[in-house]
C-alpha cells in the first residue's frame, strides 16, 4: 500500500472517529449533565469531520494525479 492509499484510509478512519466523538459529546450533553464542554467538543468534532470529508475528496483527486 502506498502513502496515497494509506492517507485516504487514515482520513476515512479519522472522520469516523470524529463523528463518533461528536455523538459521544451530544449524548453526554443531552442525556447526562448538560456540560457545555461536551457540546463544544461535539460541535468541533462534527465540523472537523465535515472538513475532513471535503479535504479527503480534494486530496484524493490531487494524489491520483501524482
Amino acid at each position: 500500500m502506498s502513502l496515497k492509499h494509506f492517507h485516504i484510509f487514515f482520513i476515512v478512519v479519522s472522520t469516523l472517529v470524529l463523528f463518533g466523538l461528536g455523538v459521544w459529546g451530544l449524548n453526554g450533553y443531552f442525556k447526562h449533565d448538560a456540560n457545555g464542554s461536551n457540546l463544544i467538543i461535539a460541535l468541533i468534532a462534527f465540523v472537523v469531520g465535515a472538513v475532513l470529508i471535503v479535504y479527503g475528496i480534494k486530496v484524493f483527486q490531487k494524489l491520483k494525479a501524482l
Partner: protein
C-alpha cells in the same frame, strides 16, 4: 562500491522497492506490539470488578485537541511528500517542518497531561486503568519521538540527497510518511478506547 538494489525501481517478484517492503514488515510487527497491549487492556477491563469511565479520569478536551493535532500532522506529512513529487523542495521543507512542530506540540500537551495526573497522585501503580493508560500512551509517545528524529533527519542533513538522488529521497519521505500515518492511526484508536469508553 556496490549500490543497494531496488531503492528506486520495484523488485520484479514483490512489485515493491526494498524500503517499502521493509517498512510494512516493521509496521506489521508494530501492529502485533500494540495489538498485544490492546488485548491486555480488554482482558484487564473484562476481569476487573469495576472499571472507571475514561472521561471521569482523563481530560477529554485535551485528548480531542491532541487528536486534531495528529490528524493535522498527517495532512502536512502527506503534503510534504506530494511537494517532492511535484519537484517543490521549498514546500517540502515547509510542510515537513510543520509536521515536526505539530508532533512537538503533541508531546508538550501530553507532558502537561502527565504532570496534571502526577499532581493528583495518579501514577501507573495507582490502578489497572492508570497502568494501561500510561503504558499505551507512553509507548505511543516514544513512537512520536522516533518519528520526530526521522523527520528531523530528512528535514535537515538527510535532505542533501535531494540534490544527488531526488527519486530515492522522495521514496525515503514516503516511507517516513507511512510510519507517521501508522503512529497517528494508533492514536486514533487509543483516544476513544482510553478517553471515551
Amino acid at each position: 562500491m556496490e549500490t543497494i538494489p531496488y531503492t528506486v525501481t520495484p523488485r520484479e517478484d514483490t512489485g515493491l522497492i526494498n524500503a517499502k517492503l521493509g517498512i510494512w514488515l516493521f509496521l506489521a510487527s508494530e501492529v502485533m506490539l500494540f495489538g498485544g497491549l490492546f488485548s491486555a487492556y480488554i482482558f484487564l477491563r473484562l476481569g476487573a470488578v469495576s472499571w472507571p469511565e475514561g472521561s471521569s479520569i482523563l481530560n477529554v478536551p485535551i485528548g480531542t485537541f491532541n487528536t486534531l493535532v495528529l490528524i493535522g500532522s498527517s495532512v502536512t506529512m502527506v503534503l510534504s511528500w506530494a511537494a517532492l513529487a511535484e519537484q517543490r523542495f521549498d514546500r517540502f521543507r515547509l510542510y515537513l517542518g510543520l509536521t515536526m512542530l505539530l508532533s512537538l506540540l503533541f508531546l508538550v500537551v501530553k507532558g502537561f497531561e502527565y504532570s496534571e495526573k502526577f499532581s493528583h497522585h495518579l501514577y501507573p501503580s495507582s490502578s489497572s486503568f492508570m497502568a494501561i493508560y500510561f503504558t499505551l500512551t507512553g509507548l505511543h509517545a516514544l513512537h512520536i519521538i522516533g518519528g520526530l528524529v526521522v523527520n528531523g533527519y530528512l528535514w535537515g542533513p538527510g535532505s542533501k540527497m535531494w540534490a544527488s538522488d531526488p527519486e530515492r529521497f522522495t521514496n525515503r519521505v514516503e516511507i517516513a510518511g507511512l510510519y507517521w500515518h501508522f503512529v497517528d492511526l494508533v492514536w486514533i484508536f487509543l483516544f476513544p478506547v482510553l478517553y471515551l469508553l
